[in-house]
Structure formats: structure tokens, C-alpha cells
């Protein structure tokens, strides 16, 4: 796919291929990509590869609940009674050499202090740190065998977003908007919301479009006053003057274009101003939580100061997917706040408390509205934590084996997939690499990760870097 710059076509005589090329180059024209897809099923890029959808999707949207910093799987979803026996002992050699970032190589193993119970008809194991989430056990597919390559937060978060521990590749949400376009052209298709006043490690790079056109990047919402940067007309200008300015601009542009009628790019720029102002009109409504009933707000814990912050974001996510936003990423603990090298009890106690009810509220609300069937909810961090202690009462990073869960959107709930070893260090059965997770998420959206190709510098690039398999066990209708 080429950008306008590279392939100036002044014709207005666009063939299907040109239209698609342009569609990729302009956010405003993304609807065009969707249109093309409606017209002829899967659309093809100039290189003969198909952009999506490639098969019937089970999910229209994704809400990715990113617990940033690394939640401890062995204290939440993956009980390890064996650790009780080995408590205080060093890691047995049979587990092989591993690298931990803080380098406490001889730190003793530390069992979980949690109380564990099985929940729902499926009998899913969830610890007492997540009582609300546990109520939805039968909707969750808990994957205990995730693994990744990132040792530290920055490369871990980068990989969970882009597939690679090094920067520069498009985020998964960018691939989704590239493959599927948007269902609501007045809102961005890929939205990111950070919680509190923290900032995700490496910042906007995590939702960047990498080598794709910037139009595929995630848009960070920053609170309900001005949810999108530059969305508000400066106060000293005001709506009337803004309208007058736009009229004059339109006049100048039309006059300019009259002599250059063949240039579709000039037209696209004019449209982008019009679209910008439709966004100005519609985006504030989309993020206006006051339209929600008290009961709904309470479901998300917005009435409680501990849970209000993340609860609002979860509710916002539902409003966005309702309006056709494809990919919503909510960070909880933005700025590595789940990181618990010491005092994990205190840290995770708080992180679970502030996220559990909002997450459960989201699942419940989506279900009540019939949206859970078309919305894939993904929960997890960039890695889990070690069974070895750190600084006595904490745990170090563990990308060798950790837990994520998925619900809705075609996921077969009420099941546990995969296994870690007896102490929760390495994933050993049904191992799911980040690429596999990405392939599976794309699959549910109707995208075949082998077929979705972006030609970067002429080379075929895929979201999963030519790796990854769809985890069939996760699917309701495999």
C-alpha cells in the first residue's frame, strides 16, 4: 500500500485498487475501505493479498483490559499447591536456568497467600482477590500457558501490543483498523484509555501505526472534557467564528481546486476538515457518561471512590464499542503499577480492588445488552510473576508462563486452557505465545493472520511476523 505522497494520482478516475490504496492512506477514507468490503466481500490490496474480513467474524469489537506491570498469575488464576511444599527453598535446578530482571537468582520460592475456590458450573479456579470477576467464571476462558519474550516492562508491553519486543511495528489495534476499517467514521476506530494520571511505559509508541500510515494509530482519550486532542475549538474563538473561518477556508479551497479539479488528494483534505468537525460534534456525546443510569454506573463501581476511576473507563469502553469502535484498549495501572517486586500483598490487593468490580461490571453490562456475543474482552498484562520471591515479599517478572483470559465474542467460556509447571514458572502445555494470542484475536474478528498483509518497503508484513497459530480450543465454534 502506498501513501498519497508516493503515488500522486490526479485523476479522480480511481479504480478499485486505487480506492483501496487511498483508503489506507486516509482516516477519512477508511469508511471507503469498509464500503469496498461491503461491495465485494474481502478486498484485495495492490499486492494481491486480501484485507479483511476473510471469514465470518464472531466478534465485531475488542476490549483489551491491559493490567500493566504484570499481574501475578499464581496469585489470581493459577493455584500452585506445590509451592507450599517448596516454600523457602531455592528454585530446583530441574527448572533450568532463567533470567530475571532484578537478578535475585537465589531468592527462595514463595507460595501464594490467597484463598482459592472453584467458581461457576465450570468450576474455574479464581483466588479471593477477584471475587467479582469470579462470578463470571462460566464466561471466561482462562489461558494459563501464555508466554512472551520481553524480560522488562518496556519490551513486554511493546510485544503484547505489536508482537515484537522492539519498537517500530504497528500495534494490534492498527492491524485491526487496517484490516477491517471502521464502523463509525465519526469516531476513531482504535481508542486507548490510560487510567489515573499514569502513563503507559514507552507512551504512545504502544499504539502507534508503526510503518503503516498514521491514520491507523490508536487515539488516546484523555478525560471527558476534551476526549480527543484538539477536539475543542479554543474558547476565545468560539463556535460562530469557527464556522465563519471554515466557510472562508472552504471558499479558498474550492477556488484553488477549480483549477485542479483532477486532484483527489485536495478533495480528501477538504473532506478531512468536514469530518473533523463531525467528530467535534459526535465524540463528546460518545464519552458522556451522565447519560447512563445510576444502576449502570453502580454496576461498574462508579459510586465507590476505589473503583470509580477504572469503572468510568470500562463504561466508556462499552459506549465506544456500542458506537462501532473496533478496538478499545483500557490500561489499568498505567505506568507499570501492577509491578510488585516487593510487598505484593499490598500492591496486588489494591490493584485487584480497583479493577475487579469494574471489569465484572463490564462483563455483566455487555451481557445484559446482548453485546458480549459480539465483543471480545481480553484481560492480562505483559507477563506474570515468578514463584520465587523478591525482596522477601515480592515477585519478579515472569514472561516464561503467565495467565490471560478472554470472554465474549465467540470465546468458549468456562474453561481453562494450558498449564504451567508445578510451581507456575514455565508454561508447559498448550503454550500460547503472544503471536498465538494475536492470531486468535484476529481470527475472532474475521481476520486470517496469514492473509492480512501490509506491504512495507515492498515486503509482506504480517501482524504476527509470520508466526502464530489460532488457538482453536478458545473458540466456541472451532
Amino acid at each position: 500500500m502506498k501513501a498519497f505522497h508516493s503515488n500522486p494520482r490526479g485523476s479522480g478516475y480511481l479504480n478499485r485498487r486505487d480506492m483501496l490504496q487511498q483508503a489506507g492512506a486516509g482516516f477519512g477514507s477508511l469508511a471507503l475501505a469498509s464500503l469496498m468490503q461491503q461491495m465485494g466481500g474481502a478486498a484485495a490490496t495492490s499486492d494481491g493479498f486480501q484485507i479483511g474480513p476473510h471469514h465470518t467474524p464472531t466478534a465485531k469489537s475488542v476490549i483489551f483490559l491491559f493490567m500493566e506491570g504484570g499481574p501475578s498469575h499464581i496469585d489470581l488464576f493459577d493455584p500452585k499447591p506445590e509451592l507450599e511444599k517448596l516454600a523457602g527453598k531455592p528454585l530446583p535446578e530441574s527448572f533450568g536456568p532463567i533470567i530475571t530482571p532484578m537478578g535475585e537468582y537465589d531468592a527462595p520460592l514463595m507460595p501464594s497467600k490467597r484463598k482459592w475456590a472453584q467458581h461457576g458450573e465450570s468450576g474455574l479456579w479464581v483466588s479471593d482477590w477477584l471475587p467479582h470477576t469470579a462470578e463470571h467464571a462460566d464466561d471466561l476462558a482462562v489461558i494459563r500457558s501464555c508466554w512472551a519474550n520481553g524480560l522488562n516492562h518496556s519490551n513486554g508491553v511493546c510485544q503484547m501490543n505489536s508482537g515484537s519486543i522492539l519498537g517500530g511495528r504497528p500495534s494490534l489495534g492498527s492491524w485491526v483498523t487496517y484490516g477491517l476499517g471502521t464502523a463509525n467514521e465519526n469516531l476513531p476506530a482504535f481508542v486507548v484509555i490510560e487510567d489515573g494520571d499514569g502513563h503507559v511505559i514507552n507512551g504512545p509508541r504502544n499504539w502507534s501505526a508503526g510503518f503503516m500510515p498514521a491514520s491507523h494509530q490508536g487515539i488516546a482519550l484523555n478525560g471527558s472534557m476534551s476526549p480527543i486532542d484538539f477536539l475543542k475549538t479554543p474558547e476565545r474563538i468560539g463556535a460562530d467564528r469557527q464556522a465563519a473561518k471554515l466557510r472562508l477556508l472552504h471558499e479558498l479551497n474550492r477556488q484553488h481546486q477549480a483549477e485542479r479539479s483532477s486532484d483527489s488528494e485536495l478533495e480528501a483534505r477538504i473532506n478531512s476538515y468536514e469530518l473533523a468537525f463531525r467528530m467535534q460534534a459526535q465524540a463528546p456525546e460518545a464519552v458522556d457518561l451522565s447519560q447512563e443510569t445510576e444502576r449502570t454506573q453502580a454496576m461498574y463501581g462508579i459510586d465507590d471512590k476505589e473503583t470509580a476511576s477504572f469503572g468510568k473507563n470500562c463504561l466508556l469502553a462499552r459506549r465506544l464499542v456500542e458506537r462501532g469502535v473496533r478496538f478499545v484498549q483500557l490500561y489499568h495501572g498505567a505506568g507499570s503499577k501492577w509491578d510488585s517486586h516487593s510487598a505484593i500483598e499490598k500492591n496486588h490487593g489494591k490493584m485487584c480492588l480497583t479493577s475487579d468490580k469494574p471489569v465484572a461490571g463490564l462483563l455483566k453490562d455487555l451481557k445484559e445488552r446482548g453485546l458480549l456475543d459480539s465483543t471480545l474482552v481480553v484481560w492480562g498484562g505483559e507477563f506474570g510473576r515468578t514463584p520465587m520471591s523478591e525482596k522477601g515479599d515480592g515477585r519478579d517478572h515472569n514472561a516464561y508462563g503467565f495467565t490471560m483470559w478472554m470472554a465474549g465474542g465467540g470465546v468458549r467460556g468456562g474453561q481453562t486452557i494450558g498449564k504451567t509447571d508445578e510451581i507456575g514458572l514455565h508454561a508447559i502445555e498448550d503454550r500460547l505465545h503472544v503471536h498465538d494470542l494475536h492470531a486468535t484475536i484476529l481470527h475472532m474478528l474475521g481476520v486470517d493472520h496469514w492473509k492480512l498483509v501490509y506491504a512495507h518497503q515492498g515486503r509482506p508484513e504480517r501482524a504476527t511476523q509470520n508466526e502464530g497459530n489460532v488457538c482453536k480450543k478458545l473458540l466456541k465454534n472451532a
Binding site: K2, A3, F4, H5, S6, P8, R9, G10, S11, Y13, A25, F27, G28, P97, I99, T100, P101, M102, E104, Y105, L151, N152, S154, G167, G168, N202, G203, P204, R205, F211, P213, A214, I228, D229, F230, L231, T233, P234, R241, K245, L248, L249, E251, N253, E259, R260, S262, D263, L266, R269, S272, Y273, A276, M279, W450, Q457, G458, R459, P460, N469
Partner: protein
């Protein structure tokens, strides 16, 4: 047979297209099939071989032999593995091979059981006596073995020497005329013709934006329009090439290519205070019209050319542009990632080859071997980052050393006291940090510098940077107790009271050299059996290792200089074509070869191959003088065409994407052109031409704006400026509503409009004069009567009345002008 071929070729296409098999799908040729025309062979080739390749030999082949088993040749298959024979000839049913794929005792392949259909294929094959074709040595025998490149590979145009085509003699035989002749030949083949020349106004604005990156002032336009001579345009080009702003424009495209930024790019995203020196080096090189051959050599091997030259040291900043994670304990992985990054960028930026594809496997489309990737990497295997070379001239260094020496003489007793107290604690901190690194690198960290191998030096260096951080974090006031603390504080106090203050330490260069004459050995990951890889150019050109003499006098391996010298050889098939094509792409919006950093088979064929070779060989013979190349191109008729010719109907039908250059390609200003031009029309651009980077809010050219990888300036980012994480050969040029929102609502853009308005109002008294001035600054021409009328209506002024407050509205008027399509695009 025909059917069978078809089936195979479609299977091949599938396998290749979906990247399912790395090195293997092309392991046989159709000729082999002709020799084996029986049913068994067909069955094997169409069904069994793909299955074995796809599902078995990744772990049981030449690269890996899980369980000591190979399944990629008859001999190996019959031999079996650690669990014995995989075939039980007495009872086929009980063969280990079949029970494993049936998931009876072993479960193979472990990634998931084969489909029933596939299992049956293999069962049928075994039942039929597990036929292997007689000729097959190995299932995955490589087409691309060093001696096994195909004729097609060898004849690929990019590996051929540049052709010395002489074109038809033209009127005055200038390079520009000959360039036009090539383009005209392409046009006429396609029943196209050149467009009429651009209007002088369009041409002067185009040339300013293209060569120096900003819109001209109306006075500059007037000067050009007033020159009636034939050489007016050529002199304009000369003038602009001599303008220091030329390097500030053209340096930028090079910085994109080498992924320049001024921060680490990971969690901490630490600022690199002297990274600007490399940027200045690039800008300066363009302005001085440094021959491209020197530009290449200095960046790759500045230290090996002249280790004392500050210019070379700045140039070698190229070797330090990688992202860096300050707390990465896996120093082995980190160093490998750094070398890989450097290999990728060097292959792409200088050689125009997609080396990155060959890191994990032989390139699937081009004759680049995985080994070639590591042959290229081997040139950098002696490298070590340097934190001890001052960013200062020899003279400055000597003066500083003298100052320090005289200060230290006075300070000696106190320094000694402090050292005696601190040294053991520092030592201890460094020692105790060793245990934080993986056990396999600890021994290297415990050795003395002299005992370390080159590889160990490299890893120890990365670890040392982290250990040093620990030392820097020591809170001496708290760590020291009692007498020691008192003594330390007192010494510190005395130091402060010395008559002369401590001389400032010189800034440190962000540069690299070799660790010594002996480079580290390079192995292909997972294939140590292949032995260390020697440096070399792509095997298809020369499979031998490049002989390189260590440069003992420079304490360096000499490898990078050897690579650079090979690159800048006049006959090098890559270097000159690649750079000339890049410059062409900058001028015309598209290259003669569309993928500027990958000339392999994945790019479309060049539109004007002879023209490319003509320009490239001329450029090479001229040692690579950029300014000459610009002159050849800009003075051509091709470049000076109109972007919007009067009659386009036919041309658009024939060549909608303007591949054959029947007009000049109009385009949106890129991020820097737009930002810098806004500052220009606002009259506030501060003329700095080098030095430490500035905050994005400062009115300086964008190339001098601090470029942080993790917090890129919003304006530049939204208009597609790269963030410095990987090499960018061509910018995207997007049109998005977010850009429009930013252009209309952001403080930054509104402030430009306000400053522009203020400045104009302070000079001009009437609304009419202000309108005139604003219009001319932005559009470089006088407003028409109707332009004047609509402006006056917008401001609410008339011949008879100028209501108060029109001047406030005037900023809005300016703001509208800089939002207009006419300003945002060039033609």
C-alpha cells in the same frame, strides 16, 4: 503430468505466499519430476514431501535434530534417532513414525495433531514402502546453496554492473538534456508527452520547498520573477544549493534513513545530549557537498580512517543510533539486538537490500542467504560503544587536560582522601551488581579487562553501564558513617573552597570504535555447527570471505573500513544506484525503483533502468557530489513541468499514477516543510544552523527540534514524521481529520497565526494593506479583487468603516490562510 505440475506450482505458490516453509518449498525442480514419472514419485512430490517439510523437518532436519532424528533424507529416515528405528519393517503398523503421528505414545508434531487426511497420506506412504526419489539427497537441499544460485538469480538486474548506455546525442549534450531524453523515450513509448513548463510562481515555490524546505518570501519570489535571463532558473538553483538551509532540508531525509533520534527509546528514554553532533555532521556534509564516498566511509568507519578527527568521530555517531534499554539484564540478547539492528539498517540504507528478511532464514524472494546476513554483521563484530571520547577538538582537549591537571595539583590531598573512602564502596557496588546478571555472563564480568575476549568486552561494557548507574545512585551522605563521613564532608568542603573552580568536563561523544584488532566471532544463531562466519558481501556476488587485515595501528579490526571501501568502489552495483534513486524519489515523489531501500524482487521493476544507471554512473564518476546531481535533475525539463497540465484526459487514462512522469507530481508538504513554512510566513523563524536541540515550542526549524523517541512532537508525528525506531525510506503522507483538528484548534498553530497577524499589523496601517501582506506571504501573489472582497467581508471592514476589533479577526484570517490547501500542498 500437466495437471500434476499445476498442482505443485499452486502448492508452491501457497507455501511461499504464506511463508509456511522457510527454505524448503523450492527444494526440487520440475526437471526432477520428468525423471521420475511414476505414480509413487508423483505421490511423494505432491503429497508427502510438502507434508514432511511443513510438519516434520523444522525439528528433524539439517538445522535441528530433536531426539537425534532427521526426517529429511532416505538415509536419515532409515537410520532413525535416539529412540531407535522409526520404521518397523516387520510390522508397519507398529512403526514409531506412525504411532507418533497418531499420538499413540509420542505426540508428533507437538504443536497439534495432523489432520486425518494428512495422517492417511503418511500411512499410505509408509505402507507403500516409504518411497524416496533416487536423486534426493536431502529434502531441503537448498536451491540457494552457495554454488546453487539459479541463472535467474544471477541475472537479476541489481546484481549486474551499471550499464554504460549512451543515449542519443542531444542538443547541447548536458546531463539534464540526456536525462530528459531518457524520460521522453519512456513517455513516447506510452503515447505520452511532457506537460508544459510550470508557471514561474509554481516553479519557484516548488524549488524552495524542495531544496531548502521552506516557502520563499514574496521578496525572494519577486527577485526570481524579475530576472529575465535564460539562466535565471539555473542561478536560482545554484543560489539555493549554496544556502545553509539546503543541508537542513536534505540532511533530514538521511536522518530518516538511519533512524536518527536523540533518546534511548526504552522505558527511561534518556536524552542523548551529544546526539545532535551526528545531526550537525549530516547537515554540514550536505552543505559542504561532501562526496558521497566520503560520507559513507566516515559514517561506517570514521574511527578507522582517522581516530583523532572530530569530524570522523561525529560521523561514527551512525554506529550509536540504536535504541538502548538501560536496565536490560540480558546483556547477551541486548548486544545481539543492537548488532541485528545495525545490520538491518546498513543493508537497507547503504545497499538497498532487504537483509532483515535473511536474519532467520534465506531470503524467500531474493538470493540472499541467511549466512549473508551474518557475513554483513561480521563487519561490525569488533564494535564497542565508547563513552570516553570527548566531543572536542584536539586543542580543546589539551587545554582542558592542562586545566584539570593544574586544578588537580591543588586539589590532590582532598581528592586522595575522597578516593580512599569512596573507592572500596564503589568497588563493592560494582562487584555486587555482578550477581544481577545471568550466570553465563558473570565470569566475563569478573575478569580483568585484559583477560576478556572481544565478545566478553562487549557484554561487560553493557553490564558496566548498568553497574555504573548503581554507583551513581550511591547516596554518599547516607552510606558513610561516623569519622569517615566527617572526613569525606570536610574534603568536599575544601574542594569547594579552592581558589580555582573545578574545570568543566568535556562533553562525551556518542560514538563507537572497535574493541581491538581482534573482532568477536559471529555465529548463526542455533547453527553453531557452521562455525564462525567471516565477513563478506552477498554470496551471489562473491561467496568468498573478504580478506581483511587488522589495523594494529588503529587498534581496530579494519573490517568496517573494508566494507565501506567496497561500498564506494565506482563499480559497486548497489551504492550509486541506491543513493541516486533516493535523491530522485525526494525530488519526484517516487523513485525510479519504487522501494528505495529494497531493490530485490519484491519491488516493481524500475521504470527507467537505463536512466538510473546513466545517472548513477555519472554520479559515481563525480565521487558522488550531491549538488551536481541536484543540478542535473532540477535543470531538466522533466522536473520543470507543470503539475496540472491543461490537458490531462488521455494521460490520466494511460498512466494514472504518473509512472512515466508526464507531469510534476503535486504533494502535501511533509511535516517539517509545513511546520517550518508556518514559522516562515509568521516571520518568526529563528535562524540557527547547528547545535544543541531545542524544545518543540521554540521557533526553530524542525530538524533542530529535540527528537525523543517516546514522546515525539505531536505536530510532526501527526504529519507522518518518523519516530526513529526503524529506517524510513519513504514517508507516509496521510490525510486525517486529526490533522485538521490540530491545524484548526491547537495552540501551536493558532499562535503562529496570531504572531503573523501581530507582525503584519505592526507594519501596515490599513486593513487592505494587511490583507495584501498576509495573502502575499502565504500565496506569494496579490489577492484578486474577489479575494480582497471576501477577506474584507470576513473582517467586517469596508471602504467606509473599519469597526474596532477587526485586528483581532485578522489573526483568524491569517489562520485560515495557513490552513488552506494551497499552502499545505506543493505543485
Amino acid at each position: 503430468m500437466i495437471l500434476c505440475k499445476k498442482a505443485i506450482s499452486s502448492l508452491l505458490v501457497l507455501l511461499v505466499a504464506f511463508g509456511l516453509c522457510a527454505n524448503s518449498s523450492d527444494a526440487y525442480t520440475y526437471d526432477d519430476l520428468k525423471d521420475e514419472q511414476d505414480a509413487q514419485a508423483r505421490f511423494f512430490e505432491t503429497k508427502v514431501r510438502p507434508l514432511l517439510i511443513d510438519s516434520c523437518v523444522r525439528c528433524h532436519g539439517d538445522e535441528k535434530q530433536e531426539g537425534g532424528l532427521r526426517l529429511d533424507s532416505q538415509e536419515a529416515f532409515n537410520k532413525g534417532g535416539e529412540s531407535g528405528s522409526v520404521i518397523d519393517t516387520a510390522s508397519m503398523e507398529n512403526s514409531l513414525f506412525l504411532s507418533a503421528i497418531r499420538y499413540k505414545d509420542l505426540e508428533m508434531p507437538p504443536s497439534g495433531q495432523l489432520s486425518e487426511e494428512k495422517i492417511q497420506i503418511l500411512e499410505q506412504w509408509v505402507a507403500g514402502g516409504s518411497y524416496w526419489p533416487a536423486k534426493t539427497e536431502s529434502l531441503t537441499a537448498k536451491r540457494k546453496g552457495e554454488k546453487g544460485f539459479t541463472d535467474e538469480d544471477r541475472s537479476y538486474w541489481f546484481f549486474q554492473p551499471m550499464s554504460k548506455h549512451e543515449t542519443v546525442r542531444t542538443r547541447n549534450d548536458s546531463v539534464s538534456d540526456r536525462l530528459d531524453a531518457f524520460v521522453e523515450a519512456g513517455l513516447s513509448t506510452h503515447q505520452l508527452t511532457f506537460a508544459e513548463p510550470a508557471t514561474p510562481l509554481a516553479l519557484v515555490r516548488r524549488t524552495y520547498l524542495d531544496l531548502i524546505g521552506v516557502t520563499p518570501t514574496s521578496a525572494e519570489v519577486a527577485t526570481f520573477l524579475a530576472d529575465p535571463t535564460d539562466t535565471a532558473y539555473a542561478s536560482l538553483v545554484d543560489r539555493l544549493l549554496d544556502d545553509p538551509r539546503y543541508g537542513e532540508r536534505w540532511g533530514r531525509f538521511w536522518l530518516d534513513l538511519v533512524r536518527f533520534a536523540e533518546s534511548d527509546g526504552y522505558k527511561q528514554d534518556d536524552f542523548r545530549p551529544t546526539a545532535y553532533r551526528y545531526r550537525d555532521y549530516v547537515v554540514r556534509s550536505f552543505n559542504e557537498d561532501k562526496p558521497y564516498r566520503d560520507f559513507v566511509r566516515e559514517q561506517l568507519a570514521g574511527d578507522e580512517i582517522d581516530s583523532d578527527s572530530l569530524e570522523c568521530r561525529d560521523a561514527s555517531g551512525y554506529l550509536r543510533l540504536w535504541i538502548y534499554e538501560y536496565n536490560q539484564r540480558d546483556v547477551t540478547g541486548q548486544w545481539n539486538a543492537i548488532l541485528n539492528d545495525l545490520t538491518d539498517v546498513t543493508g537497507e540504507a547503504f545497499m538497498g537490500l532487504g537483509y532483515g528478511c535473511a536474519r532467520c532464514h534465506d531470503h524467500k524472494f531474493d538470493p540472499l542467504l541467511q549466512k549473508d546476513y551474518f557475513r554483513l554483521q561480521a563487519y561490525f563484530s569488533g564494535l564497542i560503544p565508547r563513552e570516553d571520547l570527548p566531543a572536542a577538538t584536539q586543542e580543546q582537549v589539551e587545554r582542558n587536560e592542562a586545566d584539570v591537571a593544574s586544578w588537580e595539583e591543588a586539589a590532590k590531598p582532598f581528592l586522595d582522601t575522597i578516593e580512599a573512602i569512596e573507592a572500596p564502596i564503589r568497588e563493592k557496588t560494582i562487584r555486587s551488581a555482578v550477581s544481577k546478571f545471568p550466570p553465563d555472563v558473570r565470569p566475563a564480568l569478573l575478569k580483568s579487562a585484559e583477560q576478556r575476549s572481544t565478545r566478553e568486552k562487549q557484554l561487560a561494557h553493557l553490564a558496566y553501564l548498568q553497574q555504573l548507574r548503581d554507583v551513581k545512585e550511591i547516596k554518599w551522605e547516607k552510606v558513610l558513617k561516623g569519622e569517615q563521613q566527617k572526613e569525606w564532608l570536610l574534603a568536599k568542603e575544601y574542594l569547594k573552597q579552592l581558589p580555582a573552580p573545578k574545570p568543566k568536563t568535556l562533553p562525551v561523544s556518542l560514538t563507537a570504535t572497535d574493541a581491538g584488532p581482534e573482532p568477536a566471532e559471529v555465529y548463526i544463531p542455533g547453527k553453531p555447527g557452521l562455525g564462525p562466519i567471516s565477513p563478506g558481501i552477498p554470496s551471489i556476488i562473491n561467496p568468498e570471505a573478504m580478506p581483511v587485515q587488522p589495523m594494529a595501528d588503529h587498534n581496530s579490526s579494519g573490517r568496517r573500513l573494508a566494507l565501506a571501501n567496497w561500498m564506494v568502489d565506482r563499480e559497486n552495483p548497489f551504492t550509486w544506484r541506491v543513493i541516486v534513486n533516493r535523491v530522485w524519489q525526494q525530488h519526484f515523489g517516487q523513485g525510479i525503483v519504487p522501494n528505495a531501500s529494497d531493490f530485490g524482487r519484491l519491488t516493481e521493476t524500475p521504470t527507467h533502468p537505463e536512466l538510473l544507471d546513466f545517472l548513477a554512473s555519472h554520479f559515481a564518476e563525480n565521487s558522488g557530489r550531491m549538488k551536481s546531481l541536484h543540478r542535473w535533475i532540477l535543470n531538466s525539463r522533466t522536473y520543470r513541468q507543470s503539475a496540472y497540465p491543461a490537458s490531462t484526459t488521455a494521460a490520466i487514462q494511460i498512466d494514472p499514477s504518473n509512472k512515466w512522469l508526464w507531469r510534476f507530481a503535486p504533494r502535501r508538504l511533509d511535516a517539517e516543510q509545513l511546520r517550518d513554512s508556518m514559522l516562515t510566513v509568521a516571520g518568526e523563524l529563528r535562524p540557527i544552523h547547528s547545535g544543541v536541540s531545542e524544545d518543540p515550542n521554540k521557533p526553530v526549524r524542525s530538524i533542530f527540534v529535540r527528537s525523543m523517541r517516546n514522546s515525539q512532537d505531536r505536530f510532526l508525528a501527526l504529519f507522518d514524521a518518523p519516530d526513529g525506531s526503524s529506517s524510513t525510506a519513504k514517508r507516509n503522507a496521510t490525510t486525517t481529520p486529526l490533522q485538521s483538528l490540530m491545524m484548526m484548534n491547537s495552540d501551536w498553530v493558532n499562535t503562529r497565526a496570531e504572531n503573523m497577524a501581530k507582525q503584519i499589523i505592526s507594519k501596515k496601517s490599513t486593513p487592505e494593506a494587511c490583507i495584501q501582506e498576509a495573502f502575499e506571504r502565504v500565496f506569494l501573489k496579490s489577492p484578486s479583487p474577489s479575494d480582497r472582497e471576501s477577506a474584507k467581508a470576513f473582517l467586517g471592514v469596508s471602504e467606509t468603516a473599519n469597526p474596532p476589533g477587526w485586528d483581532k479577526l485578522f489573526a483568524d484570517y491569517c489562520h485560515v490562510l495557513i490552513n488552506s490547501n494551497s499552502f499545505l500542498h506543493m505543485e
